[in-house]
Symmetry: C2
Subunit: 148 residues, 2 copies
């Protein structure tokens, strides 16, 4: 199977397959005489594993660890769980940051008439010397959900 086929079968682009090879996430493949990379079904399986991990937002570095644990039949599940929960806490921190931004902006936009007049609380807030108003975590969380 050539790289294009492996890409289609795994959902990882040919570009990314070459990149993953270049950084050592996947090993160098067998080549044809002409230099074409050749992939097995097992390789495609690994690529799919990688893609699913990417879809869950894991970094390439974390994926390398996950792949290595996946291959290790003696692994301890706590090592996998630790990576996963570590990533969850990073995701949750990012979520909270974005929710605070969204909530602040929504509050400002709600108070902006949004017509042809120049008066605008959004710009006033950006131009203000006061700290940005944060509407509290719980507040931000639920107001961010309200319109989602």
């Amino acid at each position: 199977m050539n790289i294009g086929h492996a890409a289609a079968a795994s959902g990882v682009s040919a570009k990314m397959i070459r990149y993953y090879e270049s950084i050592g996430l996947i090993p160098r493949t067998v080549r044809t005489e002409a230099g074409y990379r050749v992939y097995s079904d097992q390789d495609v399986h690994t690529l799919r594993f990688i893609r699913r991990a990417r879809d869950l937002g894991f970094s390439v570095e974390q994926i390398a660890d996950l792949v290595s644990l996946w291959r290790d039949r003696e692994r301890a599940s706590k090592d996998v769980k630790a990576i996963a929960l570590d990533h969850v806490s990073v995701l949750e921190r990012k979520i909270r940051e974005l929710q605070e931004m969204a909530s602040t902006l929504k509050h400002l936009a709600e108070n902006c008439s949004g017509d042809s007049r120049p008066h605008c609380p959004i710009l006033e807030e950006l131009a203000s010397e006061e700290p940005l108003p944060v509407h509290g975590k719980a507040d931000a969380r639920f107001s961010a959900l309200r319109g989602a």
Copy 2:
């Protein structure tokens, strides 16, 4: 005021001030005979505006638009509001994506014993051929909140 002072006063690093100048977000400043950049209080005010917009996650391109609207006394507030709400919807889309990742991972981790045994539903899920289980938007949202 030199760039270091302007950086401290605005919260924008000297590196970023030079970068913003290089991409045209802020105009080239007056220089001393020795070539040092000189900043006024007004410049610092603009830098602070930029920093606050960055803190709300606006892109440099959007900030350029916001700064230009800020300077325009004839602006229509709807133009500002449009940028803000556009950004809110981008933020909310990202939030939902991250929430789905976090929720999926938490479900998987909850079913992982996390001990020294090798059995691990997280790896099994990544290695599976089935589509990643998405726990539904509402489900994902509230389960993401539960532990946050």
